[in-house]
Amino acid sequence: MSGPDAMRNLTCDEVRELAGAYVLGALDPSEAAAVRLHLTGHPDGHPEIAEVGAVIPALAELAPVVEPPDGLKVRILAAAAADLAARGGAAETPAAAEAPVAPVAFPAPAEREARRARTTAATWVLRIAAVLAIALLGGWNLLLQNDLGAARQYEQNVTAVLDAASRPGSLTAVLAADGGTGSGLAAVDAEGDVALAMRDLAPTSGTAVYEAWVIAGDGVPVPLGSFSVGADGTAFFEASGLPSAEGIVLALTLEPGPGATTPTMPIISAGVAAAPG
């Protein structure tokens, strides 16, 4: 069976004949769909398919062992952190999980394109509202902690970021913490200059510094520079030379000293840069 006739209803004998190719992924899409369609009418899933399919995981053992590069872990965790930040820090709900969304590489070009498409004028308004809400909430939290100095400092820092965000062609990113604390806002203007305001960061001590990273389409973290944080937990950071492109990831790590060339896990906070449509 192959070609245009593939979607016709298959007989049980035909499905048995295709069992090996099916579990090996060697059917073309229409053939595989025809098998799946047939299997929907077989609650037992055709024992023959299960029997040959059980060998498939073992085939993975045949691949010669090759260690992945060290940077891959950082890329994956940074992308996951950015994904989490893009979701507003909320975990995927079961309802959302059931939606027919295929996993997509991030920051792959297709994903960046999709994000661009999703960012409409309406969502831009929402983003600004979210930025302001976060800014106000951050300041309010600091006030609740009777840290008036920190609240004022954070307000000034956010104002500077919003200034940068208001320039034509600017991108913004909301950085969210993974589990711990440390959130903030960033703006990347058309020239590739970034301004970043953070709050609730753990104070640094000794030679330890926070290092800012940008991860662009190639997925390689590039260091932007480092800064230390005082007792108020706020920070303002500026750097130049970023790719001004939607979908880039901004991330923070805590490093033992300045000059890190590879991020030290875990990622403290991360966010994805996005622009109005």
């Binding site: 004949e17 590489a105 997925g219």
Partner: protein
């Protein structure tokens, strides 16, 4: 009654299986440390499969990243009892790697990713205790025990990403024969692995 008619025992979850499932539950709650744990456990196997299929370090990295991000985003879709987390994860890696190399072949018809999970994901985990002690040497031995043409068909499909029709074209073999070689080869491997594990 053939062996295919016999109900096969469900595999008892190992401590690693339990840890994997716990990690996946934490991942579905958005915990990055759980993703890191799963990555550390399966990074070598995932990258090895991706590299073996793509033969391209950069593409293999993209495939592995894509697969782990897929697991991160779709952890809640994993159904307990439908295969171990390891099988699920490595099936995603395999599926993505095959997809990647097929995209490089302009004549290939691409699989519809949204149409369904990789084949192995749709199967219950019936490998039983046999799979618990599998290692590369025993699997390689089982593969070597096949006829050359059976081994060729399985390797071209699993590691080469060729469809049965492409294998038939490449080897100059009738399509029906290719189907039989794959099915009978896998059955022979299974029998060999079952015998080897007892």
């Amino acid at each position: 009654m053939t062996s295919a008619d016999q109900p096969l025992p469900l595999r008892a979850p190992s401590p690693v299986d339990e840890a994997d499932r716990a990690a996946l539950a934490r991942i579905s709650g958005g915990e990055l440390a759980a993703l890191e744990e799963l990555y550390d456990r399966y990074k070598t196997m995932a990258y090895s499969i991706a590299y073996r299929i793509t033969n391209d370090a950069t593409l293999a990295e993209d495939v592995v990243q894509d697969a782990f991000l897929g697991a991160w985003r779709n952890a809640a879709r994993y159904l307990e009892g439908r295969g171990s987390v390891k099988t699920w994860l490595l099936s995603i890696v395999h599926h993505r790697a095959i997809d990647a190399i097929r995209r490089r072949r302009p004549t290939s018809e691409l699989p519809d990713i949204d149409a369904g999970l990789p084949a192995a994901l749709t199967l219950p985990d019936i490998w039983g205790e046999v799979s618990a002690n599998l290692d590369a040497a025993s699997v390689r031995q089982a593969l070597v025990a096949l006829s050359d043409v059976q081994r060729e068909a399985i390797e071209l499909a699993y590691f080469g990403g060729l469809t049965q029709q492409e294998i038939a074209d490449r080897t100059g073999t009738p399509l029906g024969t290719v189907k039989s070689r794959m099915r009978l080869g896998l059955l022979a491997m299974r029998r060999s692995l079952e015998v080897g594990s007892t």
